[in-house]
């Protein structure tokens, strides 16, 4: 999470209008879902990886790591679709290939494999599009976008505070855990459970007191129920639109819509 956040701030297209980047990601996701062919999903993932590396300047190592992580997760998920498990007495007739392991049959067929591949490719395309957005657009820019789209201010304020303080709370958690560890708080499972419980209650109280002090500080700066801030300034190059059209056209072609 920490390093995704770092690239979101430091990539080459950080200052581009988040509307363009979010629009591109959304279009890719919609096309992946609508066209529903393995080629489309794989092409979308390829495009996103290419744009992340070539356009945003995110190191290939990082892009591969993100896609590999998502791919591994998807492979586990679609494993259950590709292979079915049966008791030895009830092997289904449509199983083209089957392996016996003890009392169980593991069976699969071309249709099941195709379904699994389609699912995996489609999900990978969508996940890559989300990764593209996450690695190129800091959350503050997305919140700017949400504000422009007239999301309720309360939701945006909540998101602002959660994003700001999740790092703080993690830091506090880490320091408290170290302090407890120094006094042998995690010497065995029993003490560890007790320490973790103490930590949780203490962290809750600490978070509450922090919120009180934040309230005092904000009121001192004229807080009147809404966290109003200036929008960031962005670049609006035409290239985003051309690029979006190119991506959409190739995905449509791969999906068999354009011939």
């Amino acid at each position: 999470m920490d390093w995704i956040d770092r690239y979101a701030y430091s990539n080459r297209i950080r200052t581009l209008d988040p509307a363009g980047k979010a629009g591109l990601a959304l279009a890719v996701i919609l096309l992946c879902l609508a066209l529903n062919r393995p080629a489309v999903g794989l092409l979308a993932a390829g495009w996103m990886a290419g744009l992340l590396i070539g356009w945003a300047g995110v190191p290939p190592r990082i892009v591969l790591r993100v896609l590999a992580g998502e791919g591994a997760f998807l492979a586990l998920a679609v494993g259950g679709v590709a292979i079915s498990v049966h008791l030895a007495s009830a092997l289904p007739a449509d199983a083209t290939w089957a392996w016996r392991l003890g009392p169980l049959w593991f069976a699969t067929s071309p249709a099941m494999l195709e379904l699994a591949a389609t699912l995996a490719a489609r999900a990978l395309g969508c996940a890559a599009a989300m990764s593209f957005l996450a690695l190129t657009t800091p959350l503050v820019d997305l919140m700017d976008l949400a504000r422009r789209l007239h999301m309720p201010p309360l939701l945006i304020d909540l998101a602002t505070l959660i994003y700001r303080f999740v790092f703080e709370l993690l830091g506090t958690l880490e320091r408290m855990t170290i302090a407890q560890g120094n006094r042998l708080g995690y010497v065995n499972l029993r003490r560890g459970m007790a320490s973790a419980a103490l930590l949780a209650s203490r962290l809750w109280i600490e978070a509450y007191r922090r919120s009180q002090r934040l309230q005092v500080a904000l009121e001192g700066r004229g807080y009147a129920g809404e966290l109003r801030v200036l929008p960031n300034e962005y670049r609006h190059p035409r290239s985003v639109i051309w690029l979006g059209m190119a991506v959409a056209a190739t995905l449509l072609a791969a999906g068999g819509v354009l011939r």
């Binding site: 002090r213 934040l214 500080a217 009121e219 004229g222 200036l230």
Partner: protein
């Protein structure tokens, strides 16, 4: 002439037996450097939280430019336009993950339009030496950088009085000098800085008046040369044991 007057303030935190303030008074003139010193629990923070109306005294009065302050929404907003307060821990003051957006919060609350607010953000950032950090995420800053961002967030509202509650506490000596340099720039602009601190050496060197608090009262207010030379007073307050 006095800009801000805290007169005979009495305050007790809810659920506590003892008084946090027991008749504390402090007058704050324009263009002054005031240091408030005193041990932990002597009432420094409580006193300063009365200066911008965060706390309301059980008795006593706070006056700004001769007029008693009012505690309705408009009265408080008018007061906070003039009296800014910044605290020690910047992580309890910065709410946005964007430095520029955090600083823009106060100016927008003053009702400034986007252009004027942006100018205030740039001026405050320049004053605090953080113009190069405006585009960085808050959570990637160092402690000293965050402290100056918190300061800029208050100074962007252009207050007449800056209350700094132990802001120099967690800073390294170099960063502390930078913060004192910002304070000096403000005083040259005719603003007043009130700093509560445990750093007696800094209070002695920087302030033109030192207020000493004990048990919820301001016992002494004097120029540092006079206060730190008064052996009888130092002995009576226990300050002689910690003098450097």
């Amino acid at each position: 002439m006095c800009l801000l007057e805290l007169e005979a303030l009495v305050y007790r935190y809810p659920g506590r037996a003892e008084l946090a303030l027991a008749g504390a008074s402090l007058t704050i003139p324009p263009a002054a450097r005031i240091a408030v010193i005193g041990s932990n629990g002597s009432g420094k923070s409580t006193l300063l939280l009365h200066a911008n109306g965060t706390l309301r005294p059980a008795s006593g009065q706070v006056r700004f430019a001769g007029k008693p302050i009012t505690y309705d929404r408009r009265g408080l907003l008018a007061l906070r336009r003039q009296v800014g307060i910044v605290f020690q821990n910047p992580d309890e003051q910065l709410f946005s993950a964007s430095v520029a957006q955090d600083i823009s919060f106060g100016p927008l609350n003053l009702g400034l339009d986007a252009r004027a607010a942006r100018r205030r953000v740039e001026e405050a950032a320049e004053l605090c030496g953080i113009a190069h950090l405006l585009d960085r995420p808050t959570h990637a800053l160092s402690g000293g950088e965050k402290a100056r961002v918190a300061l800029a967030g208050v100074l962007a509202m252009d207050p007449q009085v800056l209350i700094a509650d132990e802001v120099t506490g967690g800073l390294d000596p170099w960063m502390r000098e930078q913060v004192f340099a910002i304070f000096d720039r403000l005083v040259r602009q005719g603003k007043t800085v009130v700093l509560s601190t445990h750093d007696l050496a800094a209070a002695r060197r920087w302030a033109d008046r030192v207020a000493f608090m004990q048990a919820g009262r301001v016992l002494l207010v004097a120029p540092p040369a006079q206060l730190f030379a008064d052996r009888a007073a130092l002995a009576a307050t226990g300050l002689d044991q910690v003098m450097v």
